[in-house]
Amino acid sequence: MGPTNDILTGVRILAFTTGYAGPFAGRLLASYGAEVIKVESKKGGLDTFRHYGQHQDIDAAPRFIECNLGVRSLALNLKHPIGARLIRELAGKSDAVLQNFRPRVLDKLGLGDEDLRKSNPKLVIVKLPGFGTEGPKSSYGTWGFNLTAFSGITYLWNHPEQDRPIGSQGVYPDHLGFVMGPTMMVAALLHSRRSGKGVTIDIAQIEGTAAVLGTTYLESSVNGDDPKPKGNHYARAAPHGCYRCQGEERWCVISVRDDAEWRSFCRVIGREELVSDRRFANLAARLAHRSDLDAIVQQWTQAQTAETVMTKCQSAGVPAGVVQTGADLLKDAQLRHRNYFSPFTDSLIGPFEIPRSGFLFRRMNEEPLKLPNRFGADNERILGELLGYDKATIEQWRKGEVLT
């Protein structure tokens, strides 16, 4: 029995979050033991994901549940002067604030950085604004989808020589933000613990996104080129790509990086004569004859299942992988081995399993993930036990539209 992974036990974080990146950042902090108190209000301050989908019950939107696992809920009207005052008091009992509202929304409510630090100079504040707090476009509305486009990733996420951009339906910037957010949060908490001073961290999601395209920007600034989409090509491997396999929409990727892998691959596909084929004599030759090569690979892959292709290649030391669907992931032997999915047998949306994290701590015990607390479920505990208000006062606020 090692220690448990609730490493952040004792850390209290106030979360003003909505949508995907901010809430999920809170989930990842709560997953490791932080007490994350999400502040929302039915008076125009509900997380937009509570309305995502067809559900009438604001606690039963699947996407809200997915992004807010383990998070507590304080229903509090920030536009009411008492609501804002209670947050300032709560800041005095907390370690950090996490927020992804548009710039200056909280400032206008009397909840700016300095307002909050009055009761707690050590308070850490982490913000995830789309375009940053400063700059000519800081008021712009952003979304993971359009940030991807703005960064250059959408343009590059395409096969070569296409007449239009393709990009992705996804929101990659949110995914980057929800890991960078907690990383910066704990880094700032470590700093605050050491220095005794609070810090404010701004992660403009557009810059978090640009951080994963740095090599390309260097290509542009060093070489003066404007890099073009490369699709599944890679200048250091051939064959390299995504190949159709037996069955509908079944694919396997294969990367052959060097001569040793090439020889293994030729054996795997039963074409050892190709080893001495001059068109494929070395990497440069294989790259030059890429289309011949792809045809040969495709001919082999399409006659068998994607799983067989992967297993045969990997057994011979050639990088390959099934292009897995959601259904494949749930039954993936490796992910199962890692106890990757946290199961929920009883929830407002029925049973489900959900991915935990990209890493695990070896020799430590993993705590199971928890459902989000229902809207407002923590009101009495927070205002009573934490801030010391009596039941009558809390009841009065509930009636007076402070706690809603």
Binding site: E134, P136, A149, Y172, A188, A204, V323, F341, L360
Partner: protein, 402 residues
Amino acid sequence: MIDTTNATSLLSGYRVLDLSSSMGAFCGKFLRDLGMDVIKVEPPRGDACRTEPPFAKGHANREGSLRFAYLNAGKRSVTLDITKDIGRKLLLDLVAHADVVLETFEPGYLAAHNLSYDALLDKQSKLILVSLTGFGQDGPYAHYKTTDIVGNAMGGLLFISGDPSMTPCNPPETQSYYYASLFASYGVMLALWQRETRGIGAWIDTSIQASMALHEHVAFNYSAEGRVMKRAGSQHQHNAPANLFQCKNGWIALFVSQNHWPILLKVWDDHDPALDDPKWLNSNLRRQHADYINARVTSFTMRYLKEDFAEMMQKNGIPGLPVNSPSDFMKDPHIEARGFFSPVTHPVLGTFQQPGNCFMVDGKRTGPSPAPLLGQHNDEVYRGELGLSTDELTTLAAEGAI
């Protein structure tokens, strides 16, 4: 203009030994950006990342890889052959003075060289070892070979990426490496917090596949709703217009929600009156008729430059943004005003624009630093910090260990 001087360094004083290949290099970079001293420990012939494209024109050599230049910015470089006994001993000396060791070797490789986690702990009892591999340290696929596209495939992102009429399309650069590297960085932060509060080290087992499988609700949608997500280009699953639309000089990424729809119609004064039917307020219905809706919206966007259309949308609260090329992005006035890029000077590559930190501390940004030359800091680290003598260094060099 944003102040790029004197930004608070959050984690200065911590030291990382970065033994990683390009798989984990972005983790080392992020830790460096957080202020940690990151020493890249390279084999004497150089990290394999130094041989990876793209290269600076005229510099197809080990100092010319732009991938290396970006992913190792600000790190120090020492050379060391850890497969030699003398090199292994020197690594253990380095470990004694380090807080974090980052590695991307095949599972079991370090143990096979008498550098297991326990052997490292003997030198530094609170050490944080962060391992990053395709599938994790054990399990049926632990010894599977990984490349970026394998990570994206096995993690579920590739299947939903690209146009439905074409082959699934890998994103640019090596996103599965970067994404796993970010998770690894978070693991390091948690482990440091644990070390401060519980007084123990940790071994973080990062998996590229597991990192990618958190993407885009792919696993959750199937588990909770039995829904298999498929490729749809840039078309959003539940909404329209939510796609890329053609303008005079390029494309715009537009997402028009339920609340935005009436605003769009107001801005678009000569729209087809059929669109005024209140039934179109329903996003799901618009999505079901995406071809119909998108064709009409395109007739509107086609009249504008992408920048002008974006500006017009944003003035009305609709989150449109142009589809930029990388150089469009670098020249954008907002990005320029924020000082995201600054010039760095590299002894071989010259002076060029490079991204600084992607976050600010108290409103200030730390600007970029150049990547190290191979073994640039051997003397500084081995002689200056470990106190090795000239003779010892000569012996190490003679044995090919540095």
